[in-house]
């Protein structure tokens, strides 16, 4: 949205980029994130400056990162997907079952299977939302319960344990390349590709247009249904990917895997400055929001804040970011009005 701010033609490109960064909504959460990491590190240097601390700082957010990216793409079209936690659970269970059946299965096959399972769920969500033109909140809420129920029915009290996963897959959960965990690298590639697409590609920009005003988008002739369907498929596929991540990291899968994580993904998106009614926000923002949310949960015990207050802190953060968004939007409106009056 910062591109709407009037810029003087005499400015060099460098100054313009700097101005964009300084005015961006994402900067606020980056500052909070850096502050939390600094505080926690000042108290316990091992929070970042130890092999485990460094790895966890980067690794722990990876699951929520991919979920938040998927959720962001759906939210920007003025929709929401609450079924991603259940999708993650199903994907994780499928991954476990594949390894139980054949421990030598290639990691690539497992990733493909997890993503495919998620994409199918996303496609069902997308079809229901676009064909029947019903609110996605209701459809995906229903889907969340249906899938969780089906999973619990299928899995029962069975549980996939560490002994069921082959060593090479378990190792993937903590494997690092140049100290950067592999799962984090995959998550960052997802952030970069989806972020670039939404920022530059025609299809990506159309998602914003649909979210800003769905009716106008249709009148204008945008393929709204197709785009929204695509957003749900992507979101589901990323939830499936998160399911593979979950099994690699926790080396377990059961009927409760991924429960309640959908709300964390929505929280990450909101904290990251994506408007819940669509049309504005960035993938980078959602990614930083996810990073912040996970890091806060890791840092609060170290800062001596009781774990029972941790939920409250996250809640305040959500409310704070909404208020910040509102204040910024009012200020921007004033500035634009002034600019128009002076013209």
């Amino acid at each position: 949205m910062t591109t709407l701010a009037p810029t003087r033609p005499t400015e060099s490109a460098g100054v313009r980029v700097l101005r964009t960064v300084l005015r961006s909504r994402e900067l606020a959460i980056v500052i909070v994130l850096v502050a939390i990491v600094l505080f926690a590190t000042a108290r316990r240097s091992s929070f970042v400056f130890s092999a485990d601390g460094w790895r966890d700082t980067l690794l722990a957010p990876s699951i929520l990162l991919v979920l938040a990216v998927g959720q962001m793409v759906v939210v920007v079209t003025r929709n929401v997907d609450l079924s991603i936690g259940s999708t993650l659970g199903i994907s994780a269970y499928v991954v476990g079952k594949i390894f139980v059946a054949n421990p030598d299965t290639s990691v690539f096959v497992v990733f493909a299977a997890g993503i495919a399972v998620g994409a199918v769920v996303g496609a069902i969500n997308g079809l229901l939302v676009t064909v029947f033109n019903v609110p996605s909140l209701v459809i995906t809420l229903g889907m969340m319960y249906v899938l969780r129920g089906a999973l619990t029915h299928e899995v029962g009290s069975e549980r996939i344990n560490a002994q069921d996963f082959p060593a090479h897959f378990e190792k993937l959960g903590t494997q690092q390349v140049l100290t950067i965990p592999v799962l984090t690298i995959i998550a960052l590639v997802v952030v970069a590709v989806v972020g670039y697409y939404l920022h530059t590609a025609r299809g990506g920009r159309e998602l914003y247009a649909i979210g800003s005003d769905p009716d106008a988008a249709v009148l204008y002739g945008l393929p709204a249904a197709r785009r929204v369907f695509g957003a749900f498929v992507l979101c589901g596929a990323l939830a499936g990917l998160a399911g593979v991540f979950s099994t690699a990291r926790y080396a377990t899968a059961f009927s409760g895997t991924g429960k309640d994580i959908e709300l964390q993904a929505v929280a990450a998106v909101v904290i990251g400055g994506v408007a819940i009614f669509g049309g504005s926000g960035t993938v980078w923002g959602a990614a930083i929001g996810a990073f912040l949310l996970v890091t806060i949960n890791r840092a609060l015990p170290i800062l001596g804040i009781s774990e029972f207050w941790q939920g409250a802190v996250v809640g305040l953060l959500i409310i704070g970011s909404i208020v910040l968004d509102r204040v910024l939007s009012i200020r921007r409106q004033h500035r634009l009005l002034e600019a128009r009056d002076h013209a």
């Binding site: 316990r44 722990a60 560490a162 926790y250 015990p301 170290i302 029972f308």
Partner: protein, 339 residues
């Protein structure tokens, strides 16, 4: 053939009333004959928990042994009132015995008592409710015994001195809290050089337990050991430790199942952990329920009943039956078990 409709209707009505009455009698003492058809429903804290999978399998074995009808129902995650609807349904179905592991000591009381008034015998196992809400509690081990075995194991593993922490289940979990209190007392009484520096709650969720373990290690650089008195917690903590620099330096013990812990015992992350045999626990619970339903016992202190291969058991104070002592699992014996 001409039928006197009035007389027929009256006769039919009489027969109907009589059959309802007889049926009611039948269901009252249906279990007291050969025990055939005693309906036993297991309601664990949540499905998807390998511990309850095993205990309920033990229950099923017992129910088959005495020729009853077994069923298992439950919520997919543990929550204080998640079990209420399942209790109400079981009561409406008129099951003879309901075997429950309670998520909360108070929240289930109204439903359980309503079920008992309707004629269902309520046996709690693993986690008790208030004594007035059930007929019998099958105690897996005394709280003292469980607390002591865990403190003994951690003391042996860290050389009886240093900082330790506890990774528990939910903050309001009945038995975990009782054990933690007793472990604290035991530490203070017998292990003055061991300092308990933190108690954190993983909510029996892998991700939360995992993150709490990481936080414990970061927050307490001198930590020498972790006790996790919950099967989900100990396996998550073991997974984290096995991939961390603290592997082999920070001891981990507590209550776990052999299948969950096998890899971590073999790779040296965990030396020894404990548990009773959950299968025996479910088995005993089913037999206790059967004895209640048959009217052989009423749950009074001193009542004795037989539980198949497990032998004779005596009801103790507060309607409690004790299974026995906790069992220690380590590299030498873990492969003898599969649950």
């Amino acid at each position: 053939m001409r039928i006197n409709t009035k007389r027929f209707a009256a006769g039919a009505a009489l027969a109907l009333v009589a059959s309802v009455g007889l049926a009611a009698c039948g269901s009252d003492d249906g279990g007291s004959g050969d025990g055939d058809g005693t309906t036993v429903t297991f309601l664990p804290k949540n499905l998807g928990n390998p511990y309850f999978e095993t205990s309920d399998a033990g229950g099923e074995k017992a129910v088959k042994e005495f020729g009853g009808v077994y069923d298992e129902v439950g919520p997919d995650t543990a929550g204080p009132d998640a079990q209420v609807s399942y209790i109400d349904t079981a009561a409406a179905q008129g099951v003879n015995v309901l075997v429950v592991s309670a998520n909360d000591p108070d929240a289930l009381c109204d439903s359980l008592n309503a079920a008992r008034e309707a004629g269902t015998k309520v046996v709690t196992f693993d986690s008790d409710t208030n004594p007035e809400c059930r007929d019998l509690f099958i105690n897996q081990a005394t709280a003292e015994g469980i607390a002591k075995v865990q403190v003994d194991m951690i003391a042996e593993q860290i050389g009886d001195s240093g900082e330790i922490a506890i990774l528990s289940a939910a903050a309001n979990a009945t038995n975990q809290n009782a054990w933690i209190e007793l472990m604290e007392a035991e530490l203070e009484a017998s292990h003055p050089d061991i300092e308990l520096v933190a108690t954190v709650y993983g909510d029996d969720d892998d991700q939360t337990s995992f993150d709490k373990t990481a936080a414990l290690l970061a927050d307490h650089p001198n930590l020498k050991g972790i006790i996790s008195p919950t099967t989900v917690g100990i396996s998550a903590a073991a997974r984290y430790l096995s991939t961390s620099d603290a592997k082999g330096k920070v001891a981990l013990t507590g209550l776990g199942t052999p299948n969950q812990m096998r890899d971590y015992v073999k790779d040296g992350t965990v030396t020894e952990f404990a548990l009773w045999n959950p299968e025996d626990l479910g088995f005993l619970s089913a037999y206790a329920g059967k004895a209640l339903a048959d009217g052989d016992i009423t749950g009074e202190e001193g009542d004795t009943f037989s539980a198949g291969d497990l032998g004779e058991f005596t009801v103790g104070a507060d309607g409690t039956v004790l299974l026995g002592d906790p069992f220690r699992y380590n590299a030498d014996n873990i492969d003898d078990f599969n649950f």
